[in-house]
């Protein structure tokens, strides 16, 4: 008879081992899924995880790793602060959209002005757009005790509709021959989020992600606010007695997450995406939730997890074109990863004991 025994403290070693274990189990289960779809499982896993890094066309895929990983890392870092304190912002996708609209909106408003200060101004607008959108669930939670999970999620659907109305309305390209979508910011030098070093995939959004990771690390480990976040997550009552103001924490965590998601949205629309279109958002806000957990809510873990998740996107696209693997298979793969991660977490918090006889 197997019995679970709670560990006095979660095992540190295992908390590092379990994400790797989850990835391995996902590869096996994913392989089974691909086999079910009639594809060679070994070839599929190799196409997704090996070829983009070390294969023949790795020179093309490697920069993509940063392009796709950047927004995921940026969003997941913000989410992780809240998750640690038990504040669940699930609406990063909406904050990402609103940041993109705000940032791109500023750029489009000044078109065709060329000025050095335009891009920084757009960056600020992007962050503010995401921040403001996240303030809605934050303020409602602080003022009325409204559930932030549901409100932030509802706002994703509101933001998607707003994006659609912008793409075919106020922000539509006047020279676009009636097609929906804004002007392409890639063709507007002052507003373009270009690569910092050409051909590397390293754009300002990726740089921002790495800076944010370092800042998040400092915040969590060297700053009183980080301590308060951890305390609130571990022992909410103790946190209250030691003078942590929950309302302030809610505003800070949701606001930071919103600002970072907004930044990610802006850097994407001004860079790789180029324009505001109806379906310009591709679900980074939701995938970032997996990234945050896979990275153990730790800034450096999140960087690694973000890159790994980017790899599944890139490898997934490669597998789509070379093996005719359906696009949705990768989404399933990412979902499975979160499942297995949550399941193997059992080992971090509990010891599995084998009893000879069933004890009471």
């Amino acid at each position: 008879m197997l019995r679970l025994e709670k560990r006095p403290q979660p095992s540190r070693t295992l908390s590092y081992v379990t994400p790797v274990l989850a990835v391995l189990i996902t590869m096996v289960a994913g392989g089974l899924l691909f086999a079910l779809l009639g594809k060679d499982p070994v070839a599929a896993i190799r196409t997704i995880f090996w070829d983009p890094l070390f294969g023949e066309f790795a020179f093309y895929y490697r920069p993509q790793l940063l392009v796709k990983g950047g927004p995921l890392i940026l969003i997941a870092l913000g989410l992780s602060l809240g998750f640690k304190a038990g504040i669940w912002n699930i609406g990063a996708e909406g904050q990402y959209i609103m940041g993109a609209i705000a940032g791109a909106g500023v750029g489009l408003a000044f078109y065709p002005l060329e000025a050095w200060w335009l891009f920084p101004l757009m960056v600020i607008a992007g962050a503010l757009g995401g921040w403001a959108w996240a303030m809605i669930p934050a303020l409602l939670k602080v003022r009325f005790g409204t559930n932030e999970i549901l409100v932030s999620l509802m706002l994703v659907y509101v933001a998607e509709n707003f994006l659609a109305s912008m793409a075919i309305g106020a922000m539509k390209n006047p020279e676009g021959f009636g097609f929906p979508g804004s002007r392409n910011l890639q063709q507007y030098p002052s507003a373009h989020n270009a690569e910092i070093i050409a051909g590397t995939g390293m754009h300002w959004g990726v740089a921002a992600a790495f800076i944010a990771a370092i800042m998040a690390y400092v915040l969590m480990n060297r700053h009183i606010l980080g301590y308060q976040i951890r305390l609130t997550g571990d022992a909410p009552r103790a946190a209250k007695f030691s003078g942590v103001k929950p309302a302030r924490l809610v505003l800070f965590c949701l606001g930071t997450a919103g600002a970072l998601a907004g930044l990610a949205g802006f850097f994407e629309v001004a860079g790789p995406a180029g324009q505001i279109t109806t379906g310009f958002n591709v679900g980074y806000g939701f995938t970032a939730i997996i990234v945050a957990f896979l990275g153990r809510l730790h800034p450096f873990g999140i960087v690694l997890a973000g890159l790994l998740m980017a790899l599944t996107y890139i490898g997934g696209e490669a597998a789509q074109s070379t093996m005719q693997l359906p696009a949705a298979a990768i989404q399933v793969f990412q979902g499975m990863l979160l499942f297995f991660l949550l399941a193997v977490d059992l080992l971090t918090n509990f010891r599995v004991r084998l009893d000879k006889r069933e004890a009471a």
Partner: protein, 306 residues
């Protein structure tokens, strides 16, 4: 704009149809939450039910088999949630999200070969005599079977929670799992059953969308209905009849905005499409003032050793 084109009677009739999917899913989630478990995966279970029901109905030609498959698919996905949260003791919020992400991916994977397929029509159930009543008859008594099933389900859940021993035990588990455990009730087993029931209901709700309301399959077609079902439970203060009220309110808003779009109101369609979500937020804000109705153990992990 031509407001005269909006027929209030037709509006009332289509309101009942628009409300049914979220009503069935919400009343299932209500049972889950009454047992003290917060399953945020309703959206994932609904979309899984939508595609399982659609695939089964399109393959066999029988909507009834479709609905049965939808309930099965939803319950199967809920079983994963039950394993994660009740056996592996994983965080309920994270597990629910995992369920939604996984369900959305899985459904579009299964659904690929069903795009553009037409499901078998579900016949309307014209209740004899009652449906012949002028005005009220066509509005209230000539819907498909699932509309009445939804109403019956709400009544059954209400009666189960209020009048039966099983309902009492379920509520005890949700209010204080430690005490229920001490009294000898199998907390985990009861919760797993509640989770499976919730999954089956969410699956049925999803299939209602893909088989009757929008008889076709498109990726992500539940479009947040699962989250609205979750909000309905809060709105209803965990009371079954209020779920009905909330679902009709929500259905009314949905149908009205669609009618206004069709009538060519000067507001762009995108802004009208936002309205159900905005109304849901508004309702959540109003209802959040009173949190006393929530089951006391909601969302807390139970392990016998603690």
């Amino acid at each position: 704009m031509d407001l005269g084109a909006i027929n209030p009677l037709l509006l009332a009739a289509s309101l009942m149809v628009a409300a049914t999917a979220v009503m069935i899913a919400a009343v299932g989630e209500l049972v889950v939450e009454k047992a003290g478990v917060l399953n945020l995966g309703v959206e994932g279970m609904m979309i899984t039910g939508a595609i399982c029901g659609f695939a089964a109905a399109a393959t066999t030609g029988s909507p009834m088999i479709g609905f049965a498959a939808a309930a099965g698919g939803g319950a199967l996905l809920a079983l994963l949630f039950a394993l994660l949260t009740q056996v592996a003791l994983a965080n309920q919020v994270a597990s629910g999200l995992a369920l939604t992400l996984f369900g959305l991916g899985m459904s579009s994977l299964i659904g690929q070969s069903y795009v553009g397929v037409k499901p078998p029509p579900t016949p309307d159930l014209d209740i004899p005599l009652l449906s012949d009543i002028p005005v009220l008859g066509p509005v209230l008594f000539s819907h498909d079977l699932m509309v009445y099933f939804g109403l019956a389900l709400v009544a059954a859940v209400w009666a189960f929670l209020k009048y039966t021993r099983g309902g009492l035990i379920l509520k005890a588990v949700g209010e204080n799992h430690a005490a229920a455990h001490a009294l000898g009730y199998k907390v985990v087993r009861i919760r797993v059953l509640a989770i499976l029931f919730g999954g089956a209901c969410a699956g049925l709700g999803g299939a209602y969308i893909s088989l009757i309301r929008v008889p076709q399959w498109t990726e992500g077609m539940t479009g947040g209905a699962g989250w609205i079902a979750l909000a309905l439970v809060v709105f209803a203060s965990w009371k079954p009849w209020r779920v009905l009220l909330g679902a009709y309110l929500f259905g009314g808003v949905t149908v009205l905005q669609l009618n206004l779009q069709a009538a060519g109101l000067a507001i762009p369609a995108e802004y009208l499409s936002m309205s159900p979500y905005l109304i849901t937020i508004l309702v959540l804000v109003i209802m959040s003032a009173d949190r006393s109705a929530a089951p006391a153990s909601l969302g807390r992990t139970f392990h016998a050793s603690q």
